[in-house]
Symmetry: none
DNA sequence: TTGACGCCCATATGGCCCCATGGTATCCCA
DNA sequence: TGGGATACCATGGGGCCATATGGGCGTCAA
């Protein structure tokens, strides 16, 4: 199992070296193992961000177009609800959005050691079984099955490369 | 029966992880089983919200465009009635709305263990037979037949994805 | 009488709290 | 500069308790 996990060495254990002045954003990634009781540690610096914001739990949402969960502090929910408030309350869009963020969302409670239990809610949408990849995304972070993350990562890089080449020369970013 | 139920693994057992400070909203979903006496447990955190509001009864309405019930504490009626009050009392809309919420609704009583009995009123409109899916919707929650919920959920996600793709690029959330 | 319903209790599963351990990075001092 | 001490973190497991679920029993009404 060890050997298997080191296949993802590239995204393992990078969480330690996050500079302090960037603590307000979810950055970097790590892969942690699910224990026999179905729990997994949330990377420490992710937890630190949550603690700094004053939260001891997480709000998780199934990503629309990827086998991943978008996870953040519960105030994410406020942002979504504010967005819904701009829609016609009797329209289809508002109803769909509410269904999505309330019904397709879930709170994940951190235990005393900073772990969450990997529920069926998580496993079903992500395909996670033994290991969990945590990926910082700035305002939130994502939860992936490591292999799928790797595939997704390769696809993203390919798209970006294509974008860069399609661009007129001289632009650095 | 177990195997059958695990077909809905994705929406089962998500009820526990609702933190105290966000108790005011109905969030997440769970599938519970109807027992031989026709009863089903309302998820504990849903009950907690109701208890916090001081209600031991539920009011259920047939959703207009879905095989689901909209359920909430009886003060849901206040909201609808306020909505009706904005209509012309001699108009057709006000009459229809009043008929809908007053005549087409039903009270559901919670027993001592937080269960409701699944009446014909519920079964007819939802197609529920053995299992009940509870879906948080913020101010209220919904009751679905699990398979139909899954279909509806897929449709909602498809619509939202289309909405997202139609949006100008660059928006992460 | 029978069936629906309210109220009671039993139980197992799983969520959550607690503490232990081993490994690794960081720091500090010789 | 090197090596030991230390702090931190992921991981493992014990045990309590809330919850969902099953079932018994008495009451009331059809």
């Amino acid at each position: 199992m060890r050997e298997f996990r080191w296949a993802y060495a590239g995204i393992r254990r990078r969480s330690r070296s996050v500079p302090k002045n960037r603590m307000e954003r979810f950055l970097s990634s790590a892969v942690n193992r699910i224990d026999t009781k179905g729990r997994v540690s949330v990377p420490a610096h992710f937890r630190a961000i949550l603690a700094k914001r004053g939260f001891s739990e997480l709000y998780a949402l199934r990503a629309l177009d990827a086998p991943a969960l978008d996870v953040g502090s519960p105030d994410l929910l406020d942002r979504y609800e504010a967005r819904i408030a701009t829609e016609d309350p009797f329209g289809q869009a508002a109803d769909d959005m509410s269904f999505f963020i309330h019904g397709d969302g879930s709170f994940l409670k951190l235990d005393g050691d900073g772990r969450i239990t990997v529920t069926d809610f998580i496993r079903e949408h992500t395909g996670i079984s033994a290991d969990v990849a945590f990926v910082g995304r700035g305002r939130f972070f994502q939860i992936w099955e490591p292999k799928r993350l790797e595939a997704h990562s390769a696809a993203v890089r390919a798209r970006l490369l294509q974008l860069k080449r399609a661009r007129p020369a001289g632009e650095t970013e």
